[in-house]
Amino acid sequence: MKVRVKAFARFREILGSDLAIEVPDGAVMTTALSALRDRAGDEGGTIFDETGALRTHVILMRNGKRVKRSDLDTLVLADGDEVAVFPPVAGG
């Protein structure tokens, strides 16, 4: 099945804008993140930490609702879901 991914700001430059990733039926959020990690390759350091986990300040949303870090392994995705990922900024 296909999941749509919207990346913003620096993440859009790394992952591309408005991409669709293919994941197996019944896949959980962790699977989608793993596909994004592969896609980011060497440039993924601003999104994922050394262990491959999403950096703690990064905001992840599914269909417009925030996803808690504790739900990554259990949140089952559906065909056509939209996942949004973006880095909050801090400057002024």
Binding site: F8, A9, R10, R12, M61, V89, A90, G92
Partner: protein, 244 residues
């Protein structure tokens, strides 16, 4: 009551929201935290809109590297406190309002006094620790906080109404890493205008604020989107029982 010259100065916006709306702005007190990339355009536009009292605080002095974006500070101001530099320009832009400038670091010891009596706090800081402090003070005092932040061509904004909307710690439980951030002046210009516009709407009592919505501006893609945000039941800043 508006003076005759005020009726004239604000004639075009009185067409929008009437003398009653203009009087609301005249009676308003706004605290702008920061006189940098965001604080300069926010303060300038709120001043010319006729906000009755603008308080602005910044601890820094003007550096040449500020001049690509901090539009109230000019070559002649190099080495002088940003608070005084901003105050001088704002007074010249609109002599009919009160400007109170504070060349000070916003911290636990003074945030209460800086916010006291204000109708609104506008976040124009460049770091999350001070933003979290402003958020806690907003929650404690009940004064709404209009958040904005930028980096490069990107920015974000949201309006926090204590007790009603998600607070800053609900939305950003973890601060982004501190850095010397790259920035072009148009980015704080865009986000600062969104914040100033929110401030004016809030003071006029209008609905449809950026409440429980996080706005994301991507200047390289020229996209602007808003995402729904929610209060976190376990938020250390605003959840009942944890709230200071």
């Amino acid at each position: 009551m508006l003076l005759e010259r005020e009726r004239e100065r604000y004639a075009r916006q009185i067409l929008l929201f009437g003398e009653e709306g203009q009087e609301r702005l005249k009676g308003a007190k706004v605290f702008i935290a920061g006189a940098g990339g965001l604080g300069c355009p926010i303060a300038l536009y709120l001043a010319v809109a006729g906000i009755g009292e603008i308080r602005i605080a910044d601890r820094d002095t003007v550096d040449r590297t500020n001049l690509n974006r901090q539009v109230l500070h000019w070559e002649r101001d190099l080495g002088t406190p940003k608070a005084g530099s901003a105050e001088a320009k704002l007074r010249e832009a609109n002599p009919d309002i009160r400007i109170k400038a504070f060349a000070t670091t916003i911290d636990e010891t003074n945030v209460r006094d800086l916010v006291a009596g204000a109708d609104l706090i506008v976040d124009a800081m460049d770091n999350f620790p001070t933003r979290y402090l402003l958020n806690r003070e907003a929650l404690r005092s009940g004064v709404p906080l209009i958040h904005g932040a930028i980096r490069g061509f990107d920015g974000q904004a949201t309006t926090i109404v204590p007790g009603k909307t998600a607070c800053l710690e609900c939305i950003f439980p973890e601060a982004p890493p501190a850095e010397v951030f790259p920035v072009v002046g148009t980015t704080p210009g865009v986000i600062g205008m969104i914040q100033a516009n929110e401030a004016i709407k809030y003071l006029l009592g209008r609905e449809d604020l950026l409440a429980n919505r996080l706005l994301l501006w991507d200047g390289m893609a020229t996209t602007l989107e808003t995402y729904t945000v929610e209060r976190r039941p376990d938020c250390p800043a605003c959840s009942p029982g944890v709230r200071p």
